[in-house]
Symmetry: C2
Subunit: 326 residues, 2 copies
């Protein structure tokens, strides 16, 4: 069971509504895995039950009309966005040769890369089968466009590896595809599938901005490298040559870093040196300011929403994203 | 441009109808790749333009009502099934470390495994975005169920590697998921999206049986190993421990082969020895008889179809599948 984040609820009924909603999403995720055959069920089930923040499904639920019960369509969409997210994690772990995720062995480590690619495909296909059952062609179109963007974002990132000349706008474009589009889709589906079309556009924009902030904070953490907090090894971006916002800012202050970032396969010591050099500049502070700017812009979007929207809870979730990362 | 297979057309108009249909499908495939960013467009475009038989899209077109023009929905479905098929090929090449496919470098060889996994995901997501535009939720449900089955079939195959005790029915179940379900979907979508619901079930069954035959012939070829015909290295199944129908039959005659097939990572000489031993039994003849049985059953299904169906052309395509492999 995924615990709700600590939010200031208006009422116990409100808390129960979203606790029950997330529990129903968990059940759907478990059912997807259980419907599969032996190894797929085991691998997908372990991946899904390993938990995670379930931030994207929570956004979908919170973007549904607050003055009506949560409809089945919204629960299905919430499960679908999480399945798409999990698919990317399983594939990422194959390609990064990652052994652990959230303290458990990755599918790739436990079942081999072949099975992990297939399990990722299973989760991706299950996202569509879960959403298709809703019978809303526009929703499926949106999810598929998001999945297309996700894969493009991954390719953009790899194509730009070790390109120390990456601009801020190129970075932002990649973050949109890799992360923010799925946040936007999670929010938009909550609104549109609960009969709140007027809220769909502002909530999608809220999600996009929140997703951008989320990605920038993630990239900051990879430099600051508190592994206890992130569960990931610090410096993976530097090691992989992924040029992120902190690195872009650090390069402005210290152009001498360029040569180091352009070198493929730096060793541990070289990575640590780059991280220390970046931290010694104003780059992390500036990156944090950019992320906070996205958060503020996201909050401003909520003001444009009708009062059928959980504006207060969504604003709180946006602050949670900040709090986790600062 | 993909040439039509050499069929005995009723008329030049009939030939032109399907030539134009396949050309329209090619345009859609090219448009999918072109809509993507730089590396994705290049990699996906190269994959799609490398051609192949386009057997699945042809089936979709041939399963549309013959007494009406080919509707846009059918062209979209034909492109979607090919995109799903291509996605599996791109992923397979990553996992098999394949360097060439159809005489061209694979995406994995040219752009690295990371990019290839993402390009496969792009093609998979594009299959759904292409079909979702049709606005038929049942069609999307069917395609997603097929994609789920495909990934399950791949996992089943890997989980059963080197399991020399694999039964015929387990083998058949795997072939359904890996191959035949997509053939069935290609056919069913042609019927249902052209307003021929009465033909959907028999044509889906025709497709399923044709797909089973296709897979058995493919597995026979991997033992016979005419690389000039297949474009693939012979003996890959034996090398990977994939127990196929010829091996199941050979094991019945020569149980002594079991130990060899159960050994992981056989060397070249060991693979060649197994292939020779299998060919010396009646296994290939028996496997061919099973495949022919599927073809005959598929043909029988056509008889159950209304005369709005291209029964004669579909029967010819079924024979092409045989001819290519015997």
């Amino acid at each position: 069971m995924t615990p709700l984040p600590p939010l200031a609820w208006e009422s116990e009924a409100q808390r129960r509504r979203y606790a029950a909603g997330l529990a129903a999403v968990e059940e759907r995720l478990a059912a997807v895995a259980a419907a599969a055959g032996g190894v797929v069920a085991a691998a997908a089930g372990a991946t899904l039950s390993a938990g995670g923040k379930r931030l994207r499904p929570l956004l979908t639920l919170l973007c549904a009309r607050r003055d009506r019960p949560l409809p089945d369509e919204v629960l299905a969409a919430a499960a679908a966005v999480e399945l798409l997210h999990m698919a990317t994690l399983v594939h990422d772990d194959v390609l990064d040769h990652a052994v652990l995720r959230r303290g458990r062995p990755t599918v790739a480590a436990e079942h081999g890369p072949q099975t992990a690619v297939s399990v990722g495909n299973f989760l991706l296909a299950s996202a569509f089968s879960t959403l298709a059952r809703v019978g809303d062609a526009a929703a499926v179109s949106l999810l598929s466009a998001t999945a297309v963007a996700l894969s493009e974002g991954e390719v953009l990132q790899r194509a730009a590896a070790h390109d120390a000349g990456l601009s801020f706008s190129e970075y932002e474009r990649r973050c949109e595809r890799k992360t923010a589009d799925l946040f936007a889709t999670a929010c938009r589906l909550g609104a549109s599938l609960s009969g709140n079309p007027a809220a769909a556009a502002p909530l999608a924009e809220f999600g996009r901005l929140l997703g951008l902030a989320f990605q920038v904070f993630d990239d900051i953490l990879d430099v600051e490298g508190d592994e206890a907090l992130t569960g990931k090894q610090a410096g993976t971006d530097v090691r992989d040559g992924t040029i992120t916002l902190p690195l872009i800012f650090a390069l402005e202050e210290r152009p001498g870093l360029r040569a180091r970032l352009s070198t493929p396969r730096p060793d541990r010591a070289a990575v640590a040196e780059v991280l220390a050099a970046v931290a010694a500049t104003g780059a992390l502070r500036r990156a944090r300011a950019v992320a906070m700017g996205y958060i503020e812009a996201a909050q401003a979007r909520l003001a444009a929403c009708p009062d059928t929207v959980e504006r207060d809870l969504l604003a709180q979730v946006a602050l949670q994203v900040v709090r986790r990362y600062s």
